[in-house]
């Protein structure tokens, strides 16, 4: 019977860890299957940067195996095509492209955390652990997949690398009411979004006066409201998330 790639698949130890031939085969698979979304390093909003040596799904070979085999929320499952051995070989290759982490944040994480929740009101849209709202991207493990530079830019130029699905939806209802929020869905007929208060909205285009979508972030540019030192503290706080920091 054909393997059902959607079935969760338990994984034992990597039989191809540090196997040079397997790594070469894994590289070929990476080029065809992974590169289109994950790129060659540097990180894009569409898929996590795999060159950082630490991963949102966990840092063990088994964690990487599981996400590749079964797929994730956005990522497709590759178990059906690559099979057990193929996935392990790919894991072995992915290990070789990760660089040791050399970045050292220079701010004060505790001060940054305070700014994040209080002055910056970041929790109005972002979630860290069990705190905050889920309007914008979840940041619980953001440090595991993003560089210091990336986080810095995200605070001071939020439109630069707008994550897929976080565009701005604007609706004008038939009675003239204007609503705006962060995209949760957008198709030929309808749009779904959360407003700044965290209220969910969904409309068919045919039922409203106007429905538009802009590739812009609703997030403010924090260089206007926070000092460089405060931004550095927030970056330091975020960088520690999901990597043994808080």
């Amino acid at each position: 019977m054909a393997q059902n790639p959607n079935e969760p698949h338990a994984a034992p130890k990597n039989p191809f860890a540090n196997d040079l031939k397997a790594i070469a085969e894994g590289e070929e698979m990476y080029r065809s299957q992974c590169l289109p979304c994950h790129g060659t390093g540097g990180g894009r909003a569409t898929a996590p940067d795999l060159s950082r040596g630490t991963y949102g799904v966990g840092d063990r070979d088994e964690d990487l195996y599981r996400i590749i085999f079964n797929g994730g929320r956005v990522m497709p499952a590759f178990g059906g095509t690559l099979r057990e051995d193929g996935v392990w070989k790919l894991v072995s290759y992915v290990r070789t492209i990760s660089k040791p982490l050399v970045e050292k944040p220079t701010g004060n994480a505790a001060a940054g955390e305070k700014v994040f929740w209080e002055k910056g009101k970041c929790g109005q849209c972002h979630r860290v652990g069990f705190k905050g709202a889920a309007v914008g991207p979840e940041l619980t493990k953001v440090g595991a997949s993003r560089s210091l530079q990336y986080l810095q830019t995200a605070l001071t130029d939020p439109d630069k690398d707008l994550g897929r699905g976080f565009a701005t939806i604007t609706v004008v209802t038939k009675d003239g009411k204007k609503l705006q929020g962060v995209q949760r869905g957008y198709d030929f007929f309808s749009a779904q979004f959360y407003d700044a208060e965290g209220n969910f909205h969904s409309y068919f285009k045919s039922d409203v006066k106007e429905l538009t979508r802009a590739e812009k972030s609703l997030m403010p540019n924090y260089s206007k409201t926070l000092s460089p030192a405060e931004i550095n503290d927030v970056v330091t706080f975020l960088y520690g998330l999901g990597r043994g920091g808080k």
Partner: protein
């Protein structure tokens, strides 16, 4: 009593006689994907209702279901296939063959459906095998070894039955394979001929369009079903990108017969004529899209044409008796060519190839219009297809050819801040003029079918199955199926009632009036 019984039998036969079939990928040899049934039409389609859903619990389907004998025959990815009861959608039999270890390939292991001849169904298995199944039981009647998956070949195409032959083409041009179109005996599975889509020693003139021995790894896979014209006894088939994909340094020349339409003699596999849409392609502009056979009026004269919305961004009409170019007109943004010369060859814009630092080209890698099923309606005289409208930046990376390994040397990405959009296009085949165009949030990808009820059905990536007024492009009905639609839709009459069926995700859904 006896009289009554006879009357009842006659009534039952009359009902059956009204029923219609759908017996090929393109809805007939002409690839129109058009059903003349008009019970569901512009005035009542708003009431269209789901009848049953078959959940295959497998991967995403690209299958065009065949309908005959009270059954629906559909294939899934990963070498699966099903026969379903037309009344209830219940599975009557299931075929499955495990992929061999280490099977690789581009884009999952999709399959686009069956072909049928008498009681035999034909499908390809991904690893390079053509199988004939007994339509009643799903039992294997014969298997033909077509190609070796270990060197990078794969099969995804819905076969085409032409007389006593099963015609198929290969996939796997991204692996430095050499493409082909094959004919097999319907009865025995014996291979009767093979046409190589990259010209070799058997065709010195064609071979001269390849530097060195690059034709050996020259790609040109033929992964979408072609058309057949019984009148001229000709098969029309499109071919894909040359290999290595998107970098042309090691394959100087035009690279015949990649990114081309080849017109073949079905009896011998000999080339009658060809037309190359994109000479020396470096953007993966496959010419594998549908090839409907349409007669068009040009200058007061009827010309037998074959048409295509090519992935390179242009709509084409060719004289199907000799391959002469009749129409070539962009339907989306095109920046790789500026026009046609007197011989019908595109005038190429220089320096458009992928570069280390990136190089913009429009359309991007997905097209334009890609392989997604299209439809021609003789009622409106319009050709309907979807398009991805935008550009991409092509980044080059280098690698040597290694047998069985990925040989695609560019990694295109979208243009930041300018995401590609999509559109549904209704084009006049005689002129290439767009009669109406509807812009969509994302490119629609499948479900295309036109009917005698004045309707155009399409499916999109967000899971909507939509009915348009084929004349105007006005939305008349929609249904959210819950999964992206990439397959073509079909229509048929069963027990006197019209149905529309389409594969959405891993499910097949049917619709009818209440």
């Amino acid at each position: 009593m006896r009289t009554l019984a006879i009357v009842a039998v006659c009534a039952a036969q009359a009902l059956v006689a009204q029923d219609t079939t759908w017996t090929s990928y393109g809805g007939g040899h002409n690839s129109w994907r058009y059903s003349e049934i008009s019970e569901i039409n512009t005035s009542n389609v708003a009431k269209l209702t789901p009848q049953w859903i078959f959940q295959s619990n497998g991967g995403r389907m690209q299958t065009v279901p065949l309908v005959l004998n009270g059954l629906m025959y559909a294939t899934g990815p990963q070498n699966a296939a099903f026969a379903l009861d037309l009344l209830t959608g219940k599975q009557i039999w299931r075929y499955e063959k495990r992929l061999p270890e280490g099977t690789m390939g581009c884009c999952g292991a999709p399959n686009r459906g069956f072909a049928v001849s008498g009681d035999k169904l034909f499908k390809v298995n991904y690893e390079g095998v053509l199988v004939a199944l007994d339509a009643r039981s799903g039992a294997t009647l014969w298997e033909a070894q077509v190609a070796n998956h270990k060197v990078g070949y794969s099969l995804t195409v819905a076969p085409q039955v032409v007389k006593d032959k099963v015609i198929i083409g290969n996939a796997g041009a991204e692996f430095g394979t050499r493409g082909f179109i094959d004919a097999y005996s319907v009865t025995t599975g014996e291979r009767l001929w093979r046409f190589h889509t990259t010209a070799g020693p058997e065709d010195p003139k064609g071979m001269a369009t390849w530097s060195g021995d690059s034709w050996k790894r020259g790609g040109g896979s033929a992964w979408v079903t072609g058309s057949y014209d019984p009148e001229t006894d000709t098969i029309f088939w499109g071919t894909g990108n040359p290999g290595p994909d998107m970098v042309g340094d090691v394959r100087e020349g035009d690279n015949l017969y990649t990114c081309s339409l080849v017109a073949l003699d079905p009896n011998t596999g000999k080339l009658k004529w060809h037309y190359q849409f994109t000479p020396h392609d470096v953007h993966d502009y496959d010419a594998t899209e549908d090839l409907p056979l349409v007669d068009v009026k040009i200058g007061g004269k009827t010309v037998k044409a074959v048409i295509q919305a090519n992935r390179n961004g242009l709509f084409y009409a060719l004289d199907r008796t000799n391959g002469k170019l009749l129409v070539a007109k962009p339907y989306t943004k095109v920046d790789w060519m500026t026009g046609m010369d007197a011989n019908g060859r595109p005038i190429m814009v220089p320096n458009k190839e992928p570069k280390k630092e990136g190089n913009l080209a429009c359309p991007g890698l997905p097209g334009g219009h890609n392989w997604w099923p299209t439809t021609f309606s003789p009622q409106t005289g319009l050709y309907y297809f979807s398009s991805e409208d935008g550009c991409q930046i092509f980044y080059r990376h280098d690698a040597e050819y290694k047998e069985g390994q990925w040989y695609q040397l560019s990694n295109p990405r979208g243009v930041p801040e300018e995401p590609a959009t999509g559109s549904i296009n209704a084009v006049d085949p005689a002129t290439g003029e767009t009669k109406w165009r509807v812009e969509t949030a994302r490119p629609p990808s499948g479900g295309f079918l036109s009917t005698g009820g004045g309707l155009l059905f399409i499916g999109d990536r967000d899971g909507y199955f939509i009915a348009f007024d084929a004349k105007t492009g006005k939305v008349l009905w929609k249904f959210q199926t819950g999964s992206p639609i990439s397959a073509g839709a079909v229509s048929y009459k069963f027990r006197g009632k019209q149905y529309v069926a389409v594969a959405a995700g891993s499910n097949i859904m049917t619709f009818a009036l209440p």
